[in-house]
Symmetry: C2
Subunit: 144 residues, 2 copies
């Protein structure tokens, strides 16, 4: 499910160190999952995924760790769906597409879409922006 331990523990440790994070067992376990997923998981989903490998990890630790990763620039926290914050290991600029049927979030590469005139906004200094799209898979039409 998420990798039976063949590959990446060492990598996660290195990544954490590079970002000035002490690599405890719990943090490595969270990193091993969340830095490699494309699920855009909520915090509780991260907890469940990680628990399947490290059953003794506590919910508070997962929340702490995720917030730490966000603060250190390893993750981005997104507030797109109606229910909860989700995490995205892709920290490059990109857009998002929300599947209205499943709620799944997909990354859209930055250069797939162009935005013009954005600098021209009256009294504001824009630090960040993205296009948020909502739609459904083509030919995956099912009952509403």
């Amino acid at each position: 499910m998420f990798r039976t331990s063949l590959i990446p523990v060492r990598d996660s440790v290195t990544i954490l160190r590079q970002h000035g994070i002490q690599p405890s067992a719990q943090r490595v376990a969270v990193a091993d999952y969340v830095l490699r997923t494309v699920e855009h998981p909520s915090a509780d989903l991260v907890w469940n995924r990680v628990k399947s490998r490290v059953p003794y990890i506590s919910r508070a630790t997962v929340y702490n760790t995720l917030n730490l990763f966000v603060a250190k620039g390893l993750l981005r926290a997104l507030t797109l769906a109606e229910d909860s914050v989700v995490f995205d290991p892709n920290v490059e600029r990109h857009h998002h597409l929300v599947d209205e049927e499943t709620g799944a979030i997909h990354d859209v590469p930055w250069d797939k879409v162009q935005v013009c005139n954005i600098e021209s906004l009256k009294g504001f200094e824009i630090h960040d922006y993205q296009v948020v799209m909502r739609g459904v898979r083509r030919s995956a039409r099912r009952k509403a």
Copy 2:
């Protein structure tokens, strides 16, 4: 009590009727506020604003009413800020700018920003999209 009764009750009643909503006193009270605000209020803020004029209105009614208005197309529900859903009486296409200092949300007219190539997305049918910007007021720089 609410409204020294000079202006818009009639308007809200008419709008509700036009959208197939029975105009009860509570619904009119909510409409009088929420259809005219630019605050992008959360549900609880709506409750507080309306309570100041109709003290006996209950929280559940405000939530029900807001959801009804969204279902009937009078409002849009936005999930932009990290804390809660907010409501926007502007149901035309437009973009949003979030003030990172205050959390305030501003509407940005649709034609202020252009988005290109959006139709070209692989297997998806895009129903809706918008640009979400984050920034601060120019020359309103204060301590981070």
